[in-house]
Symmetry: C2
DNA sequence: TGCCTATATGCTCTTTTTTGCATATAATAT
DNA sequence: ATATTATATGCAAAAAAGAGCATATAGGCA
């Protein structure tokens, strides 16, 4: 199909937008349980959204032991890098709760690493 | 759902992206037959894409007699205006044929108005 | 080895989107 | 009216996306 359409399609979903926003606002790689906890969404849903974002090359993955960290792909074409910086700026207000939650969650890290699982089992 | 996700979804389709690109590169309102001609797509497909873009508030419509002109919505929120200017810049290369075609088509206008229908009946 | 925790994925059901065709509407001219 | 041209839209089939649940995999540790 078309590279640009595909990426816009990947952006056309609230869960995925919220995940990307977390990564943007946190400014660092996040592990899956941190995202699950911040978004209050079922784990399988977060994992599936992350899988799609990874297929679209928007995020990259790095496993560290049991934990898996996702980060924004630093090798994105300039066009989408520009869109990401727009999102970073504008989404602060749109998903403001999420940003707060991820920051409290990040405060629980030890030596910069996630050491707890997710406490949130809410089905939304 | 979510305003941003909805608009990204509207951008997640090649036909719609190509239409928006025409509007961006032309810098003026275009009538449906001009778009059909430039994109070499069936008329119903262009009309349906335009209808969706209109529902997403990305474009506006103005009928002038038999002809209907579509233009970029000047009242978009700043976030999407910014995305549009990114698209205008970057899509010049991506859909370069389209831009050439719409310019030759626009050369056929008289007094700034479209005076011919579409000559292209191609099914792709 | 076996168990626990973190994460991924297969499967099914449901909902949305896309595609194509045929037809409807709208405006103009005869 | 009727015909013609421009545009929109209803409908049905096909394809794709989303939601939920259950289960699989993978790594760490007893």
């Amino acid at each position: 199909m078309n590279e640009y359409a595909d990426i816009f399609k990947a952006l056309g979903d609230v869960t995925r937008l919220r995940i990307l926003n977390l990564l943007l606002q946190a400014g660092k790689k996040l592990c899956v349980c941190e995202i699950v906890d911040a978004l209050h969404l079922p784990q399988y849903r977060v994992s599936k959204s992350l899988a799609l974002l990874k297929n679209s090359k928007l995020v990259t993955v790095a496993r560290e032991g049991t934990w898996v960290y996702y980060g924004l792909n630093p090798e994105l074409p300039p066009f989408f890098k520009a869109i990401f910086s727009l999102m970073k700026k504008h989404f602060q207000d749109v998903f403001s709760d999420d940003a707060g939650k991820i920051h409290s969650r990040l405060a629980l890290r030890e030596n910069g690493k996630c050491v707890i699982g997710f406490k949130c089992n809410e089905k939304k």
